[in-house]
């Protein structure tokens, strides 16, 4: 038998927690796991391999990966500046990083569309250079990069802060140039944090909806994201088809994140 604990409340709080989790998350999610199979195995397969579905999955996962990769150097730059340098407005900059977290996605979508539309502040000069952002797959990447940036910064910041100057001082003492110290000492130390940030930004971007649908143009086969296709199927009361696509998205992103985690662990072991 377990030793009686000095602190009270485990039974009560654990009961509340499981009830809350069960009713809100687990039971509804189980519907996602069960309902697609009303179509039968072949039906589910047919439903998630329609050309239009495959195109939307390619766009959602491809644009999410691209956006996360774009965010990687940008997030690293911002984190580095905020942690290492003192300059006027640094506090404001630090607080502003979380804006994409706090800004409702529909507002972000509207704002980015206004900005990058052919007559927008950024869209007009870009159009003059022959680049169209709004209502193309590029617009999807821009919106997803906006949403994902804080994930990289917030993962890198604490590691960079804890890193301290000692290792870099040692490198300098041993004759390393600043660039060598940065590339051979700092960057490897930030590796795991960068990888986690990349995974988080990607995971968020894959399912993103509100900030994308305004700027994407939503043309089937070209700029239609997978979540939008789920909505379209629901509007036709195709519950099983919507659930099949939702389940496929969820399993695909979990599988990718799992593979990513394994690679990360392997890399970390290689470094140690």
């Amino acid at each position: 038998m377990r030793r009686r604990d000095a602190l009270p409340g485990l039974g009560l709080t654990l009961g509340i927690t499981w009830l809350w989790l069960g009713l809100i998350v687990l039971v509804p999610l189980s519907a996602l796991a069960i309902r697609p199979w009303e179509l039968g195995l072949a039906g589910v397969w047919a439903s998630v391999t329609e050309p239009r579905v495959l195109a939307s999955l390619r766009l959602s996962f491809g644009a999410a990966l691209l956006a996360a990769l774009v965010d990687l150097p940008l997030g690293l730059l911002v984190a580095w500046v905020v942690v290492r340098y003192r300059f006027p407005g640094r506090r404001l900059l630090d607080a502003a990083i979380d804006l994409p977290f706090a800004l409702p996605t529909a507002v972000a979508g509207l704002a980015l569309t206004a900005l990058y539309a052919p007559n927008g502040w950024l869209g007009a000069p870009l159009a003059a250079m022959g680049v169209t952002v709004a209502f193309t797959p590029l617009g999807v990447v821009v919106a997803l990069a906006f949403v994902g940036l804080p994930f990289i910064v917030r993962m890198v910041e604490p590691v960079l802060r804890d890193l301290g100057p000692e290792a870099e001082e040692a490198a300098a003492t041993l004759g390393a140039t600043r660039w060598q110290a940065w590339r051979l000492v700092v960057l490897p130390a930030l590796g795991p944090a960068l990888a986690s940030g990349l995974a988080l930004a990607f995971a968020r971007a894959v399912g993103e909806y509100g900030s994308v649908i305004f700027i994407a143009g939503n043309r089937p086969m070209e700029s239609e994201i997978a979540p939008l296709l789920i909505v379209a199927r629901l509007e036709q009361y195709d519950y099983a088809g919507a659930a099949a696509l939702g389940l496929a998205m969820l399993l695909l992103s979990f599988a990718l994140l799992l593979a990513f985690g394994l690679v990360q662990r392997w890399l970390r072991r290689g470094m140690a």
Binding site: P28, W80, L112, Y239, A243, G246, L250
Partner: protein, 276 residues
């Protein structure tokens, strides 16, 4: 002389400028665009759009949904943090992972799962319908979807903090005969109040701003099941740009206030930790 672990001054300035420029272009400019578009025809039409009965109904509904969803997640999050941070029990790691789960689910899927359970062809939908209770395309559905997407906020801010603080103080209080509720009120709560407030704030901001999940369960009935972000979309699709951006600007203000308050709370929490 420059320290060996410092970049040359020109490079430091260049990097600072690049970061500031990047954030200005990437974050400030979209925000500025929202307010500019809202005020394109002056403050009058923008305010008129906010006073429109449908907009007022949307604002009221958004407040109502948040007023139900946030307290539910507050109670659940505090209970989860109490159990997970202070006790060891079978399934603890699993529970921690499951609580984070809603953050890795697409907002659209978060709405979809409730349609699968409560919709017209859902598991419980028809049965509830005969008893006169409609969940999807009604308030309960909006509330459920909002609880789902804001589920982890409170728990995930509290768990690491309470773990770091340990349970010695709470145990001491228990030894002195304090009840569980007394320990929570007098010992735990003062230690976590700023983080708790910060978690609630973030939870609230997301609850009021959620789009994808509520969009799926709302049905988009004006004046009835339209929250503010959904109202923005409707106005935009009807080419009522000033109105759409006016409501969007109101939501953007909410985000700015949340960010400011969060920064203040973090400083207060940090100061507390330093003085402790």
């Amino acid at each position: 002389m420059r320290r060996a672990t410092e970049e040359p001054a020109w490079l430091r300035w260049l990097l600072c400028l690049a970061a500031v420029g990047l954030l200005a272009l990437f974050l400030a400019l979209p925000l500025a665009a929202v307010f500019t578009e809202a005020l394109r025809r002056g403050i009058g039409p923008a305010l008129a759009a906010l006073e429109d009965p449908d907009a007022v109904a949307a604002i009221g509904l958004t407040l109502l949904v948040a007023a139900i969803a946030v307290p539910v997640n507050l109670v659940g999050g505090v209970a989860a943090a109490w159990a997970i941070a202070q006790f060891d029990f079978p399934g603890r790691r699993l529970l921690t992972v499951l609580i984070e789960l809603p953050f890795s689910v697409s907002p659209v899927i978060s709405g979809l799962v409730y349609v699968l359970v409560f919709g017209a062809q859902g598991w419980l939908g028809p049965w509830l319908e005969t008893r006169g209770l409609q969940v999807i395309f009604a308030l309960p559905g909006l509330v459920l979807a909002t609880i789902f997407v804001t589920f982890p906020f409170v728990a995930r801010t509290l768990i690491p903090l309470m773990q770091a603080q340990g349970r010695a103080e709470a145990e001491a209080a228990a030894t002195l005969g304090a009840s569980g509720w007394q320990i929570f009120r007098r010992v735990t709560l003062p230690n976590i109040r700023w983080a708790l407030l910060s978690g609630v704030l973030l939870c609230n901001a997301r609850a009021m701003g959620e789009f994808g999940a509520v969009s799926v369960v709302s049905g988009h009935v004006r004046g009835e099941t339209n929250t503010m972000p959904l109202h923005v979309e409707i106005l935009y699709n009807e080419y009522q740009f000033v109105g759409a951006f006016a409501v969007a600007a109101l939501l953007a203000l909410l985000a700015l206030v949340t960010l400011g308050a969060k920064a203040v709370l973090e400083r207060m929490g940090g100061r507390r930790l330093e003085s402790a």
